[in-house]
């Protein structure tokens, strides 16, 4: 469990109704963000590995995040849950899908963002935003592990490497290996074959990262407008931004705190519900 306290604590306990929370119950991790409903400043956040008891884990993490900023449940005006397990989180006042939440979170952090690439543990999404920040349209892949963080985990395990090492490995590649399969199972077979034929690990990693980027960006044929913002847990994996840029041929900006954008968006939308414009 990782708990982070925000820089500003000015509003945190004067009036509980000014604090809102977003809980992103993802497939790999639960993320929680508390925001000041008036200023939209992040007060605290937390991340915990996902497990079987979705609701209990979310409650545990929520309590820990609140404790960090010395708040009680009753200080929180509204809680919105998002993500894969959103309907299992009893703390939440309402739910909103991760598509809307990521859009809101990214737009808050990168106000001129027009496109969002979100790659999580088990799915990936492309969002096109309107100039006003609302979602124009979206495409989502969640039926196939290709184009998701799961693919990277399989590769790291097969190459006996840690996820955080992948970027360094990819950077050392001089000749990325072609990975023709976009299915994780078949790609794993290809990787075994490449290893057996002596292909360096760094070339395999670079090839896999490019394959993921191609897979994600081929989704639904959406034309992405600039600026393109990369978010989701996989944005933390070194080398992935470069792989996306390589496929797109355009710069890609990694969102600040990419793992938290869904939870942040949920918290911001909770704030909006609390005091609608």
């Amino acid at each position: 469990m990782t708990i982070t306290r925000g820089q500003s604590t000015a509003h945190r306990s004067r009036n509980g109704s000014l604090v809102c929370a977003g809980i992103d119950g993802g497939s790999r991790a639960i993320k929680i963000v508390l925001v000041d409903a008036a200023t939209h400043e992040i007060l605290a956040s937390g991340v915990h590995d996902q497990g079987v008891q979705h609701d209990a884990l979310a409650s545990e993490l929520f309590a820990a995040v609140l404790a960090q900023v010395e708040l009680q449940r009753q200080n929180v005006g509204r809680i919105i849950a998002t993500g894969y397990t959103r309907n299992r989180i009893s703390l939440a006042d309402s739910t909103i899908t991760e598509i809307t939440c990521h859009a809101a979170g990214v737009r808050h952090l990168v106000p001129d963002a027009m496109s969002v690439v979100e790659i999580g543990g088990q799915d990936s999404k492309l969002l096109r935003l309107d100039t006003g920040g609302t979602v124009h349209d979206f495409a989502m892949n969640d039926r196939c592990a290709a184009g998701t963080g799961r693919f990277l985990e399989v590769v790291a395990s097969r190459l006996d490497a840690r996820l955080e090492e992948l970027g360094d490995l990819a950077r050392r590649s001089t000749n990325p290996a072609p990975i023709s399969s976009t299915c994780v199972v078949f790609a794993e077979s290809e990787i075994i074959g490449l290893l057996a034929s002596g292909t360096p690990r760094e070339d395999i990693v670079a090839g896999v990262q490019t394959a993921i980027a191609q897979r994600v960006l081929s989704m639904a044929g959406l034309q992405l407008a600039d600026p393109i913002v990369f978010t989701g847990g996989v944005a933390l994996v070194p080398g992935m931004r470069e792989a996306l840029e390589g496929v797109l041929g355009r710069p890609v900006l990694v969102c600040p705190t990419p793992q938290l954008t869904g939870a942040l968006g949920a918290a911001l939308l909770a704030a909006r519900q609390l005091s609608p414009r």
């Binding site: 894969y84 899908t97 979602v135 124009h136 979206f138 639904a220």
Partner: protein
């Protein structure tokens, strides 16, 4: 016995039915409590939510007793004709004959969903028709096990500009060996790919607005003449133009009812009939659920019910529900419930058989009118024609989003979905969602639900933004 409209569960229907009985609501011969179908094996009913009106109960009972009706028809000596891959043309001809019943074996694609059983699909697998084919492969299982309909006296199948899946499955069916209940002799008829007329060619405006060369209409008419001859042989009496004209007039009465029903339901601010019941009602247009006369009565009841609800300002859903235009039928009926649970409502549909709802021309000779109607089939023409019609109807219905529901494995869907999405987004600038819905979608349900909810949220954001701008 009218109540405030609501979507209720099967359990709720137990009480509701009792209440209706006590209130003296009359039931048709096939009527009765809904849960008896659950006991008969239609297990999916327990996870659906239904409209609570007597008219809706009649609709469901009519649908879920079709199999019994077909076996009774066989016992009473009626001719039974399987009209395959034909969404509305040949059934009109069959019901122009005395003592004949048409049914739609393709409808077996819903058996795995309704019964929550892989039985028919397992038979198809065994015969090499695996999951790379459209879920309509359940049909071959239904023919082999003989449990869902009696062996037909005649099988008629349209091929050509249809989907490869069905053509391949029907061919496999035709050549089955006796150990698999085969062979099944099929009368194949050709429906050519509809094309736009060349500049020099005489053109015909088809129902629904598409144009076709006159030569194509003539060709299809000649194919339908082969069917007329086969039906006349089977019935041992000529199927005359007068018979067909009467059949067309009766078909148009059903279609008129359906058009009225769609107009009232889809245009009303307060959605007066749920998406699920509308899906079933629209399906009746294809083959009348094996009883054209009763179809008329069932639709009439539904129309009365929605008219009454609209008159009293009663609806099932919030007027703030997002107006969604739905493209293609779904193999899992729960999608209709999920759309409404997510805050959406139907405002129009193109379930691949718009031509079976458009009125058949009565001012031209009947065989020509039927040929025109067959060529108006959206599957037969270019995807862009279909997309343009979807755009027209979605715009008229003030749709705020479109869902294109792909049928897994269906040869046309993967190509067509992209064309429809591109054209709708370009012309209407509303969000379009493509989803793929298998017959038994339980493992995918959370993901499908998320997509639909996200679409509704996206459309709602757009609506809110537009209101703010105003």
């Amino acid at each position: 016995m009218n109540r405030t409209p609501a979507r209720i569960t099967l359990d709720d229907w137990r009480l509701r039915f009792k209440e209706m009985q006590e209130g003296g609501v009359l039931q048709p011969s096939y009527g009765g409590p809904l849960e008896r179908h659950l006991q008969d094996g239609d297990r999916r009913l327990s996870s659906l939510r239904f409209d609570n009106s007597p008219a809706a109960l009649r609709l469901w009972n009519f649908l879920l007793t079709e199999e019994k009706r077909l076996f009774q028809a066989r016992e009473s000596g009626k001719r039974i004709i399987a009209t395959m891959k034909d969404l509305g043309t040949v059934p009109v001809m069959v019901y122009s004959m005395p003592e004949a019943v048409a049914f739609y074996p393709d409808g077996a694609w819903w058996v795995p969903c309704i019964e929550m059983s892989y039985c028919e699909l397992a038979i198809a697998d065994r015969l090499g028709i695996d999951e790379t084919f459209c879920p309509v492969r359940a049909m071959i299982g239904a023919f082999v096990n003989g449990g869902h309909f009696p062996r037909p006296d005649l099988l008629i199948c349209s091929v050509g500009a249809t989907c490869d899946d069905f053509s391949a499955i029907a061919q496999r069916l035709a050549a089955l060996d006796p150990s698999n209940s085969g062979p099944f002799d099929i009368l194949w008829w050709e429906i050519p790919a509809r094309r736009r007329p060349e500049d020099s060619e005489p053109a015909v405006a088809l129902p629904g607005g598409a144009l076709a060369p006159r030569s194509q209409v003539a060709f299809v008419q000649s194919e339908l003449e082969r069917i007329r001859a086969a039906l006349s042989d089977l019935g041992q009496t000529p199927l005359t133009d007068d018979d067909l004209s009467r059949g067309i007039a009766a078909a148009n009465r059903v279609r008129s009812l359906l058009l009225q029903l769609r107009r009232i339901v889809y245009s009303s601010d307060f959605c007066p009939m749920p998406a699920l019941e509308m899906l079933i009602a629209e399906m009746l247009a294809i083959h009348y659920c094996s009883d054209r006369h009763e179809t008329f009565l069932v639709l009439n009841d539904l129309l009365d019910e929605v008219s009454r609800r609209v008159h009293h300002g009663q609806g099932l859903l919030s007027p703030e529900s997002i107006r969604v235009f739905w493209v293609n039928p779904v193999a899992d009926l729960r999608m209709m419930n999920i759309l409404e649970d997510a805050g959406g409502r139907l405002c129009g549909t193109d379930l691949l058989f718009c031509h079976a709802i458009d009125l058949i021309q009565e001012s031209v000779p009947p065989m020509e009118a039927l040929a025109q109607m067959a060529l108006a089939d959206p599957m037969v023409g270019p995807s862009s024609d279909r997309a343009m019609r979807i755009c027209r109807e979605a715009a008229d219905a003030a749709a705020e989003a479109v869902i294109v529901s792909r049928i897994p494995g269906a040869s046309h869907c993967a190509w067509e979905g992209a064309v429809i999405r591109d054209i709708v987004q370009r012309l209407l600038r509303i969000p379009v969602l493509e989803i793929e819905v298998p017959s038994i979608s339980d493992p995918l349900l959370p993901a499908l639900r998320t997509r639909i909810e996200a679409l509704v949220e996206t459309a709602r954001e757009k609506r809110d933004a537009a209101r703010r701008d105003r």
